[in-house]
């Protein structure tokens, strides 16, 4: 009986170890997914809001227009660099009152094109069909916030 229990105990310890490693790197995994979504390594779906069909995913990659964090600038693009400061600082945006993003507001602007103070963003910014996981991953990648 003891002979049988011992391997089970080791097996449980092994599972616990794997689980702890997974939890410990969970934030990186999420941010890593965000980085891949941002760069287009993983595809996003979306469209120009005046259109009835989705754009090819290569045409609507975030990195086509936006630089992220301290990464390289996008040549000849006027789109803002997306980082923690831009998203989390209180500041006037698009001529509206001061505002900042949280994850929900970030998801809303990506999905519906409406910013934190209800200003509709430019038509050239696609509206994305994002799952909660994708949105969380992009937020984590750009802000470092995995909560």
């Amino acid at each position: 009986m003891n002979v049988v229990q011992q391997p089970r105990t080791w097996w449980r310890l092994f599972i616990a170890l794997i689980a702890s490693v997974t939890v410990g790197t969970g934030g990186n995994d999420v941010a890593g997914l965000g980085q891949r979504l941002f760069s287009g390594q993983e595809q996003l779906s979306g469209r120009i809001y005046t259109h009835s069909v989705d754009m090819p995913s290569a045409a609507i990659r975030c990195s086509n227009c936006h630089a992220a964090g301290n990464g390289p600038a996008v040549p000849r693009s006027l789109a803002p660099r997306l980082n923690r400061t831009l998203l989390l600082d209180m500041r006037a945006r698009r001529g509206g009152p001061a505002s900042k993003y949280n994850r929900a507001a970030f998801c809303t602007v990506l999905r519906k094109g409406v910013d934190p103070v209800y200003i509709v963003i430019d038509v050239t910014m696609p509206r994305y069909k994002l799952t909660e996981d994708q949105c969380m991953a992009l937020w984590a990648f750009l802000t470092g916030d995995t909560e």
Partner: protein, 197 residues
């Protein structure tokens, strides 16, 4: 009693008939539907000037010559543009697919570079190839000194390459601008207007 019931139906039928006539009359109907200062049908068509353009087949032509005889959808772009140009290209790609076979021989798509300094013929050909341009879709490069004229005609007179207009202009067979889209128009709207001219 019966007459009274029939009257609205007759009025409705007449209305539908006039609506159909307006639709088949082509551009004037489009103009009436959407015309305003910024986009829609252009009440007094604008003659395109004979601006010299280097076309992707290597020949020096003029905008007038390139547009004469075919309904032409025109957009501004540059090959190094990663922001709106891939979306503009995707729109033209989709327009190609939407055009009915009956219209293909009388329409064309023209992407005009606003970056003559960098857009060499190989660069512009590669750009067309990258977006699977078919035989109806061509590109052309102007001289730098003609950019202001082109921006004035098709680009809301913007001077910044980075914030160039993404409108599509439709030029008729007589080389006149007759319709102007919203920014990043749907392929359906461009194909519909092109097919009706």
């Amino acid at each position: 009693m019966i007459r009274k019931n029939l009257a609205p139906t007759r009025r409705w039928l007449l209305g539908q008939a006039f609506a159909s006539l307006a639709t088949f009359s082509g551009l004037s109907a489009v103009g009436q539907e959407t015309s305003n200062e910024d986009h829609g049908g252009i009440v007094t068509p604008i003659d395109v000037p004979a601006i010299p353009l280097l076309s992707t087949n290597g020949s020096l032509e003029t905008l007038t010559g390139m547009t004469r005889g075919k309904a032409t959808a025109i957009q501004l772009m540059f090959a190094q543009c990663t922001t709106t140009c891939p979306i503009q290209a995707a729109i033209f790609q989709q327009v190609q697919k939407l055009l009915p076979d009956s219209a293909r021989h009388r329409v064309q798509l023209l992407s005009i570079s606003i970056d003559p300094e960098n857009d060499t013929l190989p660069a512009i050909r590669e750009w067309l190839h990258r977006f699977q341009a078919g035989s109806e879709w061509m590109a052309a490069v102007p001289r730098a000194k003609d950019l202001p004229s082109l921006q004035s005609l098709f680009g809301r007179a913007r001077t910044s390459v980075e914030s160039h207009s993404t409108q599509v202009h439709i030029v008729n067979q007589r080389s006149q601008i007759v319709w102007r889209s919203i920014e990043l128009p749907s392929a359906e709207s461009v194909a519909a207007v092109l097919s009706r001219i």
